[in-house]
């Protein structure tokens, strides 16, 4: 299973190795396809590969860390 996400890090998390921790914790394969990191915010376009349940758990964990996790399309509800 592969799923594309758009991650937004708040300033407090910009210096944290979120993707490294994600791999250690969930054993997913991240494929970073775009990134824009400043002191103010981090933006990451990433594909995560692994079992669906593991991806779901990883999304819950990232959100608990303060990362905004959205589909690559961002807000699709209009």
């Amino acid at each position: 299973m592969k799923e594309k996400f758009y991650l937004t890090y708040p300033p407090a998390l910009v210096k944290q190795p979120i993707i490294y921790l994600l791999v250690k914790k969930f054993d997913l394969i991240p494929n970073i396809r775009g990134a824009n990191v400043s002191e103010e915010m981090g933006l990451l376009a990433v594909e995560l590969e692994g079992p669906q349940e593991t991806i779901d758990s990883a999304v819950v964990w990232m959100r608990s860390q303060g990362v905004t996790v959205e589909p690559i399309e961002k807000n699709v509800i209009e």
Binding site: R33, M41, E70, V76, I77, E78
Partner: protein
């Protein structure tokens, strides 16, 4: 014959064939339609456009469809109202309201983008169309799908108010309420779009869908007598319409429909309770920090707009600006527009009027230049937003003397907060 040659990534420039694709396989950037403008220039003319029916399809050479349009044959070509009474109130010389509150068939600008998306869906051979929406988009997709005889599924938050659900379910789609917060609903819809292969108008058909928004800009220019206004104020939700209005003006120059070389200044309007684009604009940043919406302007309460960055770019490139306004200012502006121009708009329109007022008062928009305010939705869908803010009727017994007494007790019944005497 189509004038579309393919799709291109807005970020890395990678090109793709014409297909239901929406993100770049390389960098995940959004895709944009590529046109053959040289060919269009030879085909199109003001006279040809003027000879066609008054709908958004009069600009079909600049839309990404093949052959005859399939739906939305009466969508678009909404009134551009010369708003003299509102102009007098705001103290400006030349003001227009582009009024999509009366767009056909579902009374919002979404009928433009959905007309194009569903025409394209039929062209691609889809038999099912879909969207995730809390209001205007679901209304429009449901209505257009009914007219086209397509299966339709709409996804909504499970706790959405009945009034908003009926505006879509009356057209007979299968509506699915999803429990969970907006983040969960967004993710699930993206997964469904990926898995089921339906025409999700604002996901896998997004490059075509967004092109429909250009017609709002084409019409403004044509209705002004084939000239461009100096200032346009546009609300921002997901960020579809504003960059496409800018693109429309540029395309009209490119294909020879407009001689005027100037670039209109474009201003973005958001509610203070959901203003991620305004925050970035005012900070001089390119980064849109997502927010949790808290405003009565539900139809523009998009905390992380898909095209927010492109709104910023279009506003800056045009030399425009933007502002956010409070819910109180939005309600007052809805009433101001209704009581000066007889147009009842939803809170998104109130936001645009209130922001226009603010920008004029700030001196950002000069009082002696031409201004267009974009009204993108209808107030009859959101009466709860103004309930409690408008006068209640007097109640009397059915006797003439009761009315006489009431009438005499009303000192000077003003028809409007802006008396006719204030007009030029």
């Amino acid at each position: 014959m189509s004038n579309v040659t393919g799709l291109t990534c807005r970020e890395c420039g990678q090109e793709y064939p014409i297909a239901p694709l929406h993100v770049c396989e390389m960098c995940f950037g959004p895709l944009e339609v590529i046109y053959d403008y040289e060919s269009i220039r030879k085909q199109i003319s003001r006279r040809l456009i003027e000879s066609r029916a008054p709908s958004l399809w009069r600009y079909r050479e600049l839309l990404p469809v093949n052959g005859e349009p399939q739906v939305g044959l009466h969508s678009g070509f909404t009134p551009l109202v010369k708003a003299d009474r509102l102009a007098a109130h705001l103290g400006v010389k030349e003001l227009y309201v582009k009024d999509d509150s009366v767009n056909h068939p579902t009374f919002s600008y979404k009928d433009r983008v959905v007309s194009v998306a569903i025409s394209k869906a039929i062209e691609f051979g889809f038999d099912t169309v879909s969207c995730a929406s809390t209001g205007n988009l679901a209304n429009s997709v449901s209505a257009h799908a009914a007219r086209a005889g397509l299966r339709c599924l709409i996804f909504i938050p499970a706790d959405l108010e009945q009034g908003k659900i009926i505006g879509s379910t009356i057209y007979g789609p299968r509506a699915v309420g999803i429990r969970g917060n907006y983040d969960d609903v967004n993710r699930l819809c993206s997964e469904i779009a990926d898995k089921y292969g339906w025409a999700f108008v604002n996901i896998n058909l997004r490059p075509y869908y967004t092109e429909g928004a250009k017609t709002y800009g084409f019409e403004i220019a044509e209705q002004l007598g084939w000239r461009l206004p100096q200032h346009v104020i546009v609300p921002t939700a997901g960020g579809t319409i504003l960059p496409k209005v800018a693109k429309a003006f540029e395309e009209m120059k490119k294909v020879g429909l407009i001689d005027d070389p100037h670039t209109p200044k474009i201003y973005t309007a958001q509610a203070a309770g959901c203003a991620p684009v305004i925050h970035a604009l005012h900070k001089g940043s390119d980064l849109i920090v997502p927010v949790k919406p808290n405003t009565i302007a539900k139809s523009i309460a998009i905390g992380n707009p898909a095209d927010g960055y492109y709104v910023l770019r279009a506003v800056r490139d045009s030399g425009g600006w933007g502002e956010a306004v409070t819910d109180q200012e939005i309600v007052e502006a809805i009433q101001l527009l209704a009581q000066t121009e007889g147009i009842f708009t939803e809170p998104a329109g109130g936001t645009t009027v209130a922001v226009a007022k603010k920008l004029i008062e700030q001196g950002r928009i000069p009082r002696n230049e031409s201004i267009v305010i974009s009204i993108t939705g209808n107030g009859y869908k959101t009466i709860e937003a103004v309930m409690g803010h408008v006068n209640q009727p007097f109640t009397i017994n059915a006797r003439l003397q009761d009315f006489d007494a009431l009438y005499q007790s009303l000192a000077a019944p003003a028809a409007s907060p802006v008396p006719a005497a204030e007009l030029h």
